[in-house]
């Protein structure tokens, strides 16, 4: 550990060069709330830490053609305190608010929550439901991908060597749209999701659901987009029957593990319950928003 170097580049280009040219292991350091713990536990011992918080585009929340672009190193508290963002994306905020304590959220970033690739990461199902697009920069240039393609399994991502997530772009909001994220945990605060569910939906003026996205966390090796669950809502008034079909589709898409936090059977049942309740909250928010 005493050999470990630290760099705080102020441009994306410099960060990419550092990350791709280091011979040994280099790690991006955002809030460090996952990384420092993994280092302390001896699970990783990087040769170089690249602190990205000094790069302006990584730490700003911008509005671009009416869409929010959130820098990957924006912290949870920064986002929660951004009132206009919180009004547009209450479901994303639901997820961010659940990331540890106030202290943890003062450091934890969206990019870190995503790239740490925990299947239980709380902001990720909400971002998937939102239809977020991730901007990535690397030695071969930039690319954009859907947020659900980043994590591939616990602690594993689809990022190539030298690639950094720079920002997360959320789509434009329209009238009658709403989103929500809910998780089940044994404690109300400071716990890891047993199951999480994110729902984003849009109604038309008659109250029929025109568009929907549903995502589940902690029920598979990564957060899942569940199109069958969204299909159960589209074209309906999101009535009891539609919500029951949504819950059934959520259960069917889940492939959870058994562990000390919950049994497989319990997770399957709760996946349906969380999706159902998140959809009801999203619906309520969509009705209020015109």
């Amino acid at each position: 550990m005493s050999e470990m170097r630290y760099e705080a580049p102020t441009t994306l280009a410099a960060a990419v060069v550092l990350l791709s040219e280091t011979m040994g292991s280099a790690r991006v350091l955002a809030g460090g709330t996952d990384l420092l713990i993994q280092m302390r536990a001896g699970r990783i011992s990087p040769e170089l830490l690249i602190d990205i918080k000094g790069i302006p585009e990584m730490t700003s929340i911008l509005v671009e053609n009416g869409c929010y672009r959130v820098g990957a190193a924006v912290t949870g508290m920064q986002l929660i305190e951004h009132e206009a963002f919180a009004k547009e994306w209450p479901g994303v905020i639901d997820g961010v608010k659940l990331i540890g304590s106030i202290q943890v959220k003062g450091r934890a970033t969206l990019g870190g929550n995503l790239c740490n690739a925990s299947p239980a990461a709380d902001s990720v199902p909400a971002l998937i439901a939102a239809g977020a697009v991730v901007s990535i920069i690397g030695p071969a240039g930039g690319r954009e991908v859907a947020v659900e393609t980043i994590a591939t399994g616990p602690g594993r991502t689809s990022l190539a060597r030298g690639e950094i997530v720079t920002s997360i772009l959320l789509p434009r909001r329209t009238p009658y749209c709403g989103d929500a994220y809910l998780r089940f945990t044994p404690r109300t605060e400071m716990d890891i999701a047993v199951v999480g569910a994110g729902v984003s939906l849009t109604l038309d003026e008659q109250g029929f659901c025109r568009q929907a996205r549903v995502a589940l966390g902690a029920v598979a090796e990564r957060a899942l987009l569940v199109p069958e669950a969204a299909a159960a809502l589209i074209g309906t008034r999101v009535d009891a029957a539609a919500l029951e079909r949504l819950a059934a589709a959520a259960r069917a898409a889940s492939r959870p593990i058994d562990d000390k936090r919950a049994t497989r059977e319990f997770r399957l049942k709760i996946a349906g319950v969380m999706a159902h309740r998140a959809a009801e909250i999203a619906l309520e928010r969509a009705r209020r928003r015109n």
């Binding site: 550990m1 005493s2 050999e3 470990m4 170097r5 630290y6 705080a8 350091l29 809030g31 460090g32 709330t33 420092l36 713990i37 280092m39 302390r40 830490l49 602190d51 918080k53 912290t75 508290m77 540890g100 304590s101 106030i102 202290q103 943890v104 003062g106 450091r107 605060e189 400071m190």
Partner: protein
Amino acid sequence: MARHQVTATVNGDAVEFLCETGETLLEVLRDELNLTGTKEGCGTGDCGACSVTVDGRLVCSCLVLGVEAEGRSIETIEGMAVGADLHVLQRKFLEHDALQCGICMSGILIASRSLLERNPDPTESEVRFWLAGNLCRCTGYHKIVEAVLDAAREMRGA
């Protein structure tokens, strides 16, 4: 090469220290700067005993690297009382017997001050949510919450 020279402000005073990349801000405060009021409970962000503010932002100093303090302003428990004058929160914690062993206390005081700076009139549940990252194994929290609410009342002049 891996040893960094860092310049920061701690409780209003300019400080300079040397640290390794892997050293946390908590280690720097306690072992380099002899500010041992900030405690280590877990070292993993779970207990909040190490709470400080960095540029006004409440964080766990066990999850911040010393080198990240470069150019920043850090506030610890040592800066809370002015000379012999306790901060209202400190006084109220004493009045309400809101501490027993005291290991959690500096973190809870720093976190409570940070809450009252943002929200001078919090509800009981707002206090409980804000302090959810500060564990206390002695008091059962009730007296802590009472002390924070009472301090808020006094600070508002109500």
